[in-house]
């Protein structure tokens, strides 16, 4: 006699009039809840502003995933809630057991097959999206992105020579391929508005491409823990018209008139305002400076440590940051290559500016 038969032979399970579920009703509740959940999911403004062609397919993929997954969650939750409501133990049922159902092959096949099909479908769709967003175009610009603790440097190709800049400026509607490299530890180059990120790994070149399609300024974020200043390893990407990009590229890293400086230099060509330079170089990410309104705490408070110091000291503190370390701070955190990336006159202006705004205390 099988277990099932034994259960049968003991007579039917006692009637539990309250413990009946109208499956149709449950499915209706589930369908309504799913619809509401999906509507809510699609209404929420999940993403930051989209500024690349790749953002479109990825944001759509997100919506598809929401639509596919919310009903699964609602299904599980609805069954749990209905089970608790309908089948919970009532007074007098303390010693009652449920019917000894051991399984149902057809059900088990169904709930193996349907998720498998759904998942293979999602994988296929994702594969198509991936192929789409990673397709390379012929007419593209190349930017070498070099990470270090805790800043990015961007190298552009200008008529065969490589020029460096601390600022990321990109032309609109033209594919750019980033080649990521790192000088020290792993970083991760991410512009959320472009939707794509990858690690910058010492020793290897990692590439990805995006096609910016919106003018404006967008945050650049380091997404891989890289040490003390990881949180402040942020800067900005500027997407401009092709013409503006070309004129910017023509000026960037131009040997400064009165300096013997090499072919590397950088910063926005036209920007002479040292306060703007302070911001664009990301100094405020680590340093507090009242005049620039920054409150970074990774590095020393400039209002404090530069007070009463002469310009030579300030210049050395920028170009040779580890020469003298403020008390309570560690060396090796501030990038040591500002002399390369800030053109001479701008550096002079920055030193003068810092001297002026901190002298008064």
């Amino acid at each position: 006699m099988s277990l099932e038969e034994r259960a049968q032979s003991a007579g039917p399970t006692p009637e539990r009039p309250h413990a009946r579920v109208n499956v149709g009703q449950m499915l209706l509740v589930g369908a309504i809840a799913s619809a509401l959940g999906i509507a809510l999911g699609l209404l929420i403004d999940w993403f930051p502003v989209a500024a690349s062609e790749e953002a479109g397919p990825i944001d759509t993929l997100w919506d598809v995933l929401l639509i596919a997954s919310i009903p699964v969650f609602v299904l599980v939750t609805t069954v749990v809630l209905f089970a608790v409501l309908k089948f919970r133990m009532r007074p007098g049922e303390e010693n009652l057991d449920g019917p000894p159902i051991h399984g149902n092959t057809r059900l088990e096949v169904i709930w193996t097959a349907i998720p498998a099909i759904l998942l293979v479908g999602l994988c296929t769709y994702s594969f198509v999206v991936l192929e789409d967003v990673e397709a390379l175009e012929r007419d593209r610009i190349e930017v070498r992105v070099v990470g270090e603790q805790f800043a990015w440097t961007y190298y552009y190709d200008r008529d065969g020579e490589e020029v460096a800049s601390r600022q990321l400026v990109l032309p609109i509607d033209r594919q750019v391929r980033f080649t990521l490299q790192s000088k020290d530890v792993i970083h991760d180059f991410w512009v959320p508005a472009f939707r794509i990120k990858k690690d910058a790994v010492p020793g290897i070149d990692v590439t990805y491409s995006v096609t910016p399609n919106r003018l404006g300024t967008f945050p650049v974020v380091c997404a891989e823990l890289c040490g003390l200043g990881h949180a402040v390893m942020r800067s900005q990407a500027r997407v401009v018209e092709q013409q503006e990009f070309e004129s910017w590229l023509a000026e960037v890293g131009q040997p400064a008139q009165d300096e013997e400086g090499g072919d590397e230099g950088g910063g926005g060509g036209g920007e002479a305002d040292p306060k703007a330079l302070f911001a664009s170089e990301g100094c405020g990410g680590c340093h507090t400076l009242a005049d620039a309104g920054t409150t970074g705490t990774t590095g020393p408070d400039l209002d404090d440590v530069l007070q009463g110091k002469d310009e030579a000291f300030i210049r050395q503190a920028i170009v040779e940051p580890d020469a003298e370390i403020a008390e309570g701070y560690q060396g090796g955190i501030m990038p040591p290559n500002y002399e390369e990336t800030i053109p001479g006159p701008q550096l002079d202006a920055l030193v003068q500016y810092l001297s002026e705004v901190t002298q008064g205390g």
Binding site: S2, L3, R6, R16, W46, F47, P48, P57, I58, L61, L65, V76, T77, V80, A83, V84, F87, M89, E93, L96, D97, G98, P99, P100, I101, H102, G103, N104, L107, P115, L119, V120, L122, C123, S126, F127, L130, E134, L180, D188, W190, P192, I196, K197, D199, A200, V201, P202, G203, I204, P219, E224, L225, G227, G229, H230, A231, V232, T298, Q330
Partner: protein, 642 residues
């Protein structure tokens, strides 16, 4: 005094610890002198030599401590050919609370040692999480600097993973598994005790890293090279601590495997094993195969760090991505190591509390094995943005998605088990039902993460933080709570306070969702994880998350109070308060020192609720119980009635 220092125990252990440290110092000083490196400077020891001594002590002194504590006494006697002292069981079982502080070989004592120790480190880790959230209440710097912050979340994650979730499951299984299969103890009781005592070593090491010069390890629990190979000495407290936690884990897993294979009671065929036993069988396979890989990854870091090897130095032909591959080859299966035992607990509780047999028992067991197998083929989904070769992403995406199928089978089978049952919605069941819904959410965000283009966008953001907390808190921790409440009467002989248990559940459930659900949103909006400072636009949600997390922290204290107060003065528990069929409930609460006065015989499946007069195990000799037992009879369905 000399007698106390000669006998195994804490005094001798600490004496040996001192000797071990001096031993390490002697080796370093001798080696440095030999190679002509500076040893003494400024009337003290050169800082580099200090670090070297510290590092070697971390590695070696704990072994001295274990020898002093008596972990190896019996084996040493045996190996040296001395007459082994006949086993008098003086270190077996607990008669007073002091017996919990000995090298005790009773699996029930070890189980409780494990559970209490891991909950201690869970509270430490939780405190660190509260500090993380306090710092993140507002943008900018609140009360810790960037280095301390990186240390807080690193130690939080390491303690929760290596000192809480993994060992607490080992502890619960240690207690109930031998009882469930009708065994008097684990297969290797001394190895079992050794496994446990390596655990506090790892925990103290990781916690103590805050006092290391340069601060605690601050490279996350993933300790990616080359950040970790170039960090202050605190990093070594993780690198070496993990070795002890890992060794403990491997030894326990071997013990479980041998116990399950060789020590089942007569009649306990594999198809009559409770699913908790199946789950630990599957988990132990994972641990034995995978854990050596994290040991290797950390030894690579140690060698790079201490001896100037070049595993991860690209300028010397090192390969940085290799670290991640070796690390995730363990750490992805580790996710299942932290989940499968919970699946087992949930199966036990749902069957008992719904008063129905587990729906699709065999598929439940097979799906565990499928997860074990698939679990080894998905590790690179943690590396979709790492810069590894592109083509591997597609197969890894498919296997990652497919692993949701066996997981789905389990979820749906539990739902079907609930269906038409008589649901006792008391505290253990509430946690089990909470687990069902929350783990489903975590699983769904896991499928989202499997999709390569989506993962490229959300990896390393707060979406990941949300996902892992839905899986490990809403998943693993909910099952741990369920299991602790469920077996509390068996382990302590006392009943817990049901009202406080329910309050604990509801408060945790609400605060948990308020804490972690919004993280999905801030993650997709672009907030990276592991940052002490963030852009202004995330300030509102982060304040809300922090406040919710404090409520979540407080809700844990209800649990602690309930457990402590009930253990001290709760009402006495009967042998089988849940009317369960599995064997641990057929003996007194707490069970006798050797578990069973007579060897039990298993005569039926473990979950035959609703079958009149069904029994799982009886306390009669095998031949009396089943005269016509067909050797190798398998399916519960095919069994004949008694």
């Amino acid at each position: 005094m000399t007698a106390r220092l000669r006998a195994p125990g804490f005094p001798r252990a600490f004496l040996f610890l001192i000797i071990g440290t001096l031993f390490s110092a002697a080796i370093i000083i001798a080696a440095r002198e030999l190679y002509g490196y500076p040893v003494f400077a400024d009337g003290g020891i050169d800082p580099k030599a200090q670090n070297a001594i510290l590092m070697l002590s971390l590695l070696i002194a704990p072994l001295w401590w274990l020898i002093g504590f008596g972990a190896f006494d019996y084996w040493f006697y045996w190996a040296a050919g001395k007459p082994t002292r006949p086993e008098d069981h003086s270190n077996h079982g607990a008669r007073t609370w002091r017996d919990y502080f000995k090298f005790n070989t009773d699996h029930k004592v070890i189980g409780i040692q494990y559970v209490v120790t891991s909950f201690f480190f869970m509270l430490v880790g939780g405190l660190l999480a509260m500090m993380v959230r306090a710092e993140l209440m507002a943008p900018g710097s609140q009360f810790v600097n960037a280095n301390a912050f990186n240390g807080l979340f690193s130690v939080h994650a390491s303690l929760m993973i290596f000192l809480f979730v993994i060992p607490v499951f080992a502890g619960l299984a240690n207690y109930v598994l031998p009882l469930m299969i009708g065994a008097p103890d684990m297969a290797f009781p001394r190895l079992n005790a050794l496994s446990f005592w390596m655990l506090p070593i790892a925990g103290i090491m990781m916690t103590a890293s805050f006092f290391a010069p340069g601060g605690s390890f601050s490279t996350g629990w993933t300790a990616y090279a080359p950040l970790s190979t170039d960090a202050p000495i605190g990093q070594m407290f993780f690198t070496i601590g993990v070795q002890f936690a890992g060794a403990a884990s491997i030894a326990t897993a071997l013990n479980f495997l041998v116990t399950i294979i060789t020590m089942r009671a007569p009649g306990m065929s594999f198809w009559r094993l409770p699913l908790l036993v199946w789950a630990n069988f599957a988990t132990s396979l994972l641990v034995v195969i995978a854990t050596p890989f994290i040991a290797a990854s950390q030894f690579f870091v140690l060698l790079d760090y201490a001896l100037g090897f070049n595993f991860f130095r690209p300028e010397r032909d090192g390969d940085i991505l290799m670290y991640q591959h070796v690390f995730w080859f363990y750490s992805h299966p580790a996710v299942y190591i932290m989940m499968l035992p919970g699946f087992g607990i949930i199966s036990e509780i749902i069957a008992v509390k719904a008063r129905k047999p587990i729906f699709g028992y065999r598929m439940m067991a097979f799906s565990l094995l499928a997860i074990v197998l698939l679990g080894f083929t998905v590790w690179a989904h943690h590396m979709f943005v790492s810069g590894m070769q592109d083509w591997i992403r597609i197969p890894m995406m498919v296997t990652t998605a497919i692993i949701a199928v066996p997981t789905g089978i389990k979820i749906f089978s539990w739902l079907a088990t609930l269906w038409r049952g008589v649901l006792h919605t008391d505290t253990p069941m509430l946690w089990a039902l909470g687990f069902l819904t929350m783990f489903t959410l975590g699983g769904i965000s896991g499928v989202v993460l499997a999709m390569v283009p989506m993962d490229i966008y959300v990896s390393d953001t707060y979406f990941i933080v949300a996902h892992i907390h839905y899986v490990l808190y809403g998943g693993s921790l909910f099952t741990i709570y369920a299991g602790v409440y469920y077996w509390f009467p068996k382990m302590t002989g006392r009943m817990f306070d049901e009202r406080l248990g329910k309050l604990h559940f509801w408060l945790t459930f609400v605060a948990f969702n308020a804490t972690f659900a919004p993280m999905h949103l801030v993650g997709v909006q672009g907030m990276p994880r592991r940052v002490s400072d963030y852009a202004e636009e995330f300030a509102g949600w982060n304040l809300f998350i922090s406040l919710s997390s404090f409520v979540l922290g407080l809700s844990t204290l209800i649990f602690v109070y309930n457990i402590v107060a009930s253990w001290r003065g709760g009402p006495r528990a009967s042998a089988n308060p849940w009317r369960a069929l599995t064997m641990e409930w057929q003996v007194s609460s707490p069970p006798p020192i050797f578990n069973f006065d007579r060897v039990p015989t298993v005569v039926g499946g473990p979950y035959e609720y609703g079958v009149p007069d069904a029994v799982h195990g009886i306390f009669k000799p095998a031949e009396e119980a089943r005269p016509k037992q067909v050797a190798g009879a398998t399916a519960a369905e095919k069994e004949e009635g008694v």
